[in-house]
């Protein structure tokens, strides 16, 4: 890993952490609903710098974010980690299959879907163990995840286009790789 990669990961992780902390401050009609703003950074990093960068950022964000919030190794940490890893891997796999088929919005939707899927599975497996409760809540979470994933995807799309426009030299090679 080159020095430039490390610096990039550090800066992007800081952005992701800031968004992660910021969205916890936003008032929400449903306590467990999160916008997943940090996924904007994960997705942007994935498309511009590749899977390893995005995955590292996700791990750093989940671990440090839970340390700041005081939930490290707690139930919500397990769900957060599982969702983060699964979502990032799903987006990375989809991007690996085809760079043309899905744009940032589609990738974000896939990420949100797998993130929520992993969390529901973990919640059922470890905590709730009542299948009817999980089945009941799944479509609701899917709808919310699709809406937030859609918005995050649009923001990522704008961010990536602006970054490529402003810094075409330093980013162009990476994005094509």
């Amino acid at each position: 890993m080159q020095l430039q990669d490390k610096r990039r990961i550090a800066i992007l992780s800081a952005y992701a952490l800031a968004l992660h902390g910021f969205e916890a401050l936003l008032p929400s009609p449903i306590p467990w609903l999160r916008l997943g703003l940090a996924n904007i950074i994960t997705l942007t990093a994935l498309i511009l710098f590749g899977f390893r960068t995005a995955f590292t950022i996700t791990l750093i964000r989940v671990v440090l974010g839970s340390l700041f919030a005081g939930t490290f190794l707690g139930p919500s940490f397990v769900l957060s980690l599982g969702g983060g890893i699964c979502g990032t891997c799903a987006m990375g796999a989809m991007l690996g299959i085809s760079r043309k088929f899905f744009g940032p919005v589609g990738l974000s939707l896939i990420g949100a879907l797998f993130h929520n899927g992993a969390q529901l599975f973990l919640a059922y497996w470890i905590f709730i163990q009542r299948i009817e409760a999980v089945i009941f809540i799944t479509p609701v979470i899917m709808l919310l995840g699709t809406l937030t994933g859609f918005i995050n995807g649009i923001v990522s799309d704008i961010l990536i286009k602006n970054l490529l426009k402003k810094e075409p030299d330093s980013l162009h090679n990476v994005a094509q790789a």
Binding site: H20, A24, P31, W32, R34, G65, S66, A69, T71, P75, S76, F77, L79, S80, G83, K100, F101, F102, G103, V105, G106, L109, I110, L113, Q119, A123, F127, I128, E132, A133, I135, F136, I137, T138, P139, V140, M142, L143, T146, F150, G153, I154, D157
Partner: protein, 118 residues
């Protein structure tokens, strides 16, 4: 946004609405009766099975009657008998506050929050 993005978004929205509709249909026929005393479930049965259930409450014996898919508080050892006046129900709850008895009908699924994720 590519065409596939739009298609995926549409499919997910439709699927989640369909899922919500379907689960509500499938789970709303909750024909269970749960009787709780002081917050602890002491009796669970199907609404389809006609029977009288004696329940030992905080102030003595109460009687819950299940008949024709409905449930009522038949007798209760309290003064105001609010629970008995509520009559037959198929969904919802009958609460006998002095006796700490709660009869929950048509339940099955509680939308509890078990954890907040981050």
């Amino acid at each position: 946004m590519t065409l596939a993005d739009r298609a995926l978004f549409t499919v997910l929205i439709i699927a989640s609405f369909a899922g919500m509709f379907y689960t509500r249909e499938a789970l709303s026929q909750g024909t269970e009766v749960i009787i709780e005393v002081s917050g602890k479930p002491v009796f669970t049965a199907s609404l389809d099975l006609d029977r009288d259930v004696p329940i030992e409450g905080a102030h003595g014996r109460a009687g819950v009657e299940i008949r024709d898919g409905k449930v009522r508080m038949k007798e209760a050892p309290c003064d105001n008998h609010i629970c008995m006046k509520q009559g037959w129900i198929t969904r919802g709850t009958i609460v006998c506050l002095p006796n700490s008895i709660v009869v929950i009908a048509g339940g099955g699924v509680k939308k509890d929050v078990d954890a907040i994720t981050g």
